[in-house]
Amino acid sequence: MTLLLVVEQGLNGLQFGVMLFLMAAGLTLVFGIMNLVNLAHGSLYMVGAYLATAFVAWTGSFVLGVVLSLLATLVVGVLVELIALRTLYERDHLDQVLATFGLLLFFNELIAILWGRAAIYTPTPAAFAGYVELWPRLRYPTYRAVVILVGLAVAALLYVVVTRTRLGMLIRAGASNRTMVGALGVNIRLLYTVVFGGGAVLAGLAGLMAGPIYAVQPGMGEQILIQVFVVIVIGGIGSIRGALVGAILVGMVDTLGRAFLRPLLSTMVSPNAADAAGPALASILIYVLMAAVLFLRPQGLFPARG
């Protein structure tokens, strides 16, 4: 276990963390402001990945493909909000969970009909192929480095939007007291649609960046969705800052756990036992973390509502 390997896995953890953040930011705002549990958020991630793959292949241009797929994901997100989710805001969480579960089944099947159930291949854009040398002897895939940079840039942008703009002020106000914001004459429906659309674009962005790294297949959204839930519960529902901290934490714990838990265990117990227990422990590590956080701080690390 060399230092280089640790740094490399740490970067992978950061990369996974920023992708989780892109998903978590939208989801936590939808939770915080509209009080909506949206299981279909993972579907937008999947839609983003498929549309990006299709548009890049169709236009032959990476940039054009990205722009088109983000716009298309925005349209899909806004349509979903207008058609199905609007009626759910006033319902209880159980209704929301079930209705969005239905949406998720629908999207998975729709994608399976259009593209088949097998994973489709998404090439790494040519401009980001190869490696960058971050340090002598430390070569890191350019594409993953770009993902990290884009993720951090979006986080910075969100920070500015939320803390420095009028829209951000409304979002924060909405997260702490929805009724009051409505009573003060803000068009809360429009705000909901804007926030949901924004969340959809971020999920689509995460999806399109995930394409070349992970398998693009129906159901890809659920796997990350549940990890994103872990992120927002740890971070505190409705809090962007919590989402960022939670995402990096979960990304790191998950990635480093998968990489180093088995070798670490094999220094303590027999290699066979380590082979058996290592992967199992690594895959449940984030859930243990979440249970621990909830046990100690049921409201999460950075609760949005005092």
Binding site: H93, L98, F101, L105, I226, F229, I232, V233, I284, L294
Partner: protein
């Protein structure tokens, strides 16, 4: 359940379930015995979820875990040559109840969205644990070596005997459920659902009651898991997948949450619908998904709840 139309539906439903095996034999379609047995097993699972969801107001999104634990208890014991059904099923119930105790003790401290998330997270945890059990088939699961043996009392390899055993257990759980929800204990969890501060103010500590209900539901669902293992003669981590939890939850809502017969109706209708739709198209979920959305938006009381009768006032 006092209203005549509901009693009639219940009686007719039971009669139909009793008549399924002879009818299937007469029509030379043994497949239907299998299908209806499966429906009843899921009905038990849905019924157990309804105790905490419909009556206790706890939106547990990981109820399929107990199906998995019950199934794995049977499968693992059989793997080591222990095929005594009494022991297997007792272990299935006990193991599920213990897991429910741990999950419940942690998650009932939270409420609302956090409760949904944490039960989901625990379910994922156990799902991944199931995947990592390489000895017991890991990802792919493993076949059940032999169906549970009951010392010659009942032979589960006989489809009729197995069918009527499941039916008897379902009726037993309906009766037990009726006793529980109308007993003092049931009143307390219903009170805690409709207004927890008030329940506390009149001197109850809802936590213990809710936890007990959670454990009871887990144990009952564990038995459903033991039955499911015998039904499919195969066990996989997929029993615990969160979409399975969603399906069981949907059965409860579809039939009518907070009623005892509702979950049974829901399980039968949903699995029946899946069977019919999957014969029509491979992509049946594209119909099922919007159907689910429609039920939630427009038929909140569920199919059984649409019948005239008492409305769950604490709903």
């Amino acid at each position: 359940m006092r209203h005549p139309s509901r009693t009639i539906v219940l009686a007719l439903g039971l009669l139909v379930l009793v008549l399924v095996p002879p009818a299937a034999a007469a029509l030379n379609a043994p497949f239907y015995i299998d299908l209806f047995r499966r429906m009843m097993i899921f009905a038990i699972a849905a019924l157990s979820l309804d105790l905490i969801l419909g009556y206790g107001g706890m939106v547990s999104f990981g109820h399929a875990v107990y199906l998995g634990i019950g199934a794995y208890a049977v499968g693992i014991l059989a793997f080591y040559g222990v095929d005594n059904g009494f022991l297997q099923w007792a272990v299935a119930i006990a193991a599920s109840a213990v897991v429910a105790l741990v999950i419940g003790a942690i998650s009932i401290r939270t409420s609302g969205v956090s409760f949904i998330m944490i039960t989901l997270a625990f379910a994922q945890m156990l799902y991944y644990l199931g995947i990592s059990l390489e000895t017991y088939g890991g990802d792919n699961g493993m076949p059940l070596r032999t169906r549970s043996q009951f010392a010659g009392l009942i032979d589960l390899r006989d489809p009729y005997a197995f069918y009527y055993l499941v039916l008897a257990l379902l009726v037993l759980f309906l009766v037990l459920g009726h006793r529980i929800v109308n007993a003092r204990f049931g009143m307390v969890i219903r009170a805690a659902k409709s207004n927890e501060p008030r329940a506390r103010a009149i001197g109850f500590s809802p936590f213990r009651y809710k936890l007990t209900a959670f454990v009871l539901a887990g144990g009952a669902c564990g038995l459903a898991g033991a039955l499911l293992a015998n039904q499919t003669e195969y066990l996989t981590p997929d029993f615990m997948h969160w979409t399975r939890s969603g399906e069981i939850m949907f059965m409860v809502i579809l039939g009518g949450m907070g009623t005892l017969v509702g979950p049974v109706v829901g399980a039968i209708v949903l699995l029946g619908l899946e069977d019919v739709l999957s014969a029509v198209t491979e992509h049946w979920q594209i119909i099922l998904g919007p159907f689910l959305v429609g039920v939630v938006l427009f038929a909140k009381r569920g199919l059984f709840g649409l019948l005239p009768g008492e409305v769950a006032r604490d709903g």
